[in-house]
């Protein structure tokens, strides 16, 4: 169980972001694809226990279901325990959404914040 080094994480993920610009006016920029690996920051709420390690570097081609499974196993939850995951305390992504696509739309400071709770806290 090692503590994550935040500085390193941020640096490594930012190397893949670049913007292509052209002289074509009105169509200035092309969006960056999601980096191969992204940082997910898990924050607990309600009766859900906090993780010792809160930040994980996950592959961006994972589905959100993979993220749910990962978190459940980290929390050592039984299959009957309920767990709700929210992005930015706003919505619960569908299990088939891609982590990379969520990152492109909802990340802050190059990390995706996922709030989790044993109750639908922001439902």
């Amino acid at each position: 169980m090692s503590d994550p080094n935040e500085e390193d994480l941020v640096q490594s993920s930012s190397t893949t972001t670049s913007t292509v610009t052209t002289s074509n006016s009105g169509q200035a920029s092309i969006n960056s694809p999601a980096p191969d690996k992204i940082i997910v920051y898990f924050k607990n709420a309600g009766g859900a226990q906090a993780l010792k390690q809160k930040k994980f570097k996950l592959q961006s081609n994972l589905s959100f279901q993979n993220v749910i499974d990962k978190l459940r196993s980290q929390l050592k939850l039984k299959s009957t325990d309920s767990l709700f995951l929210f992005v930015n305390q706003v919505f619960q992504p569908s299990p088939d959404e891609s982590l990379g696509e969520l990152y492109k739309c909802f990340s802050h400071n190059e990390q995706l914040i996922i709030n989790y709770s044993d109750l639908p806290a922001w439902g």
């Binding site: 006016s25 092309i30 969006n31 081609n61 706003v90 919505f91 569908s94 891609s98 492109k104």
Partner: protein
Amino acid sequence: MSFFDEDIKRSIWEGKIPIIFTLSPDDLTSHLPPAPFALMAARNTYFPLITNIVKDYFSSSTLVLHEMWLEYKGIPLKWHVPIGVLFDTLVSPGATMVGGTEQQATYWNITVHFQSYPERLLMKCLNEESVKTYYRNVLKEAYYIKHGDINKINNLNINQSNELWDGLRLHDYDKFWSINKLFYNNNNNNSNSSSSNNNNAGGGYKYIPIRIIYHYKPPIQELIPSIDENGQELTLENLFYRIPFATLSNLFTNTSTSTTSPTISPTSSSSSLISIHQAQEQLHQQQQQSGFLNILQYLKSTPSVKYKIQGIEPPLDSTLSWLSEYFSHPDNFLYIVLSDSSFSIQSILNSLNSSNSQQSTSNITSP
């Protein structure tokens, strides 16, 4: 806003697809197979909201009444994707090319199953409440992209929330739009203003909630502003320009880099391994040979690739804010389906099986 816009919005809402449901022979337990069941399905609804009548109809012909699910040519239909988006992805001319012959779709032939729910491919849908919860969350996601908060949704009172849901559930245009209009800026205030130089350019949205569906994969989502750096409204062409081609090809790389052989489901044929590799190879070749920078280049230089929004191909110079307002689904996302007619339905099926098996075995790495 032009004179016809309200009519367009209503026409989009009224868009329907003729479907013929047939009971799977595997589930048949009566002597005679029941006649197929025909239905006109609204494009903008979800299957669980309209298929109770189908379930009731077939229930006398089968003894295995487990969870119902639907299948088209071996592909389990995702209940949480709007019906019109599923149709444009899987059935629209182009996607129906099988063995080189195009089958002109006059209706959509769907097989109904009552056993062996494909849990690995489809989310569970316990009841109508599951659809409601799902819908509410996608709506919040879209609204959050548009406005940067979800205050308006959170501030709906219980009657308004019910009105919105009932409008969708019962396919009641007036009911639904009486609430849904609150989520759109131009419907809210001076809707009669036709001047283009008002300070509300681009509808006043932060970003336009857009989902691009390609090859029956999970949606591609990009942050696309409604106006560009010069204050010009972004068009559909600008959107395709801004999305890197790699975004499409990345959907495939997770399977092509796999060294383990994909699990083949019982429904797929033995030739599936070959065709998925062909499909991936094709895409990689296209990318490498032509070096597409973005989706616009891919579209323009590949005649077999088409885009569809609500079943039609709006002009490339349509503005995104206008499309968002009039062509979005009830979840407030604008769904753009990209289809390549040189890809067969079989390759969709195979990549579905492959990516699924890949995902379930992916390791999550921690630092």
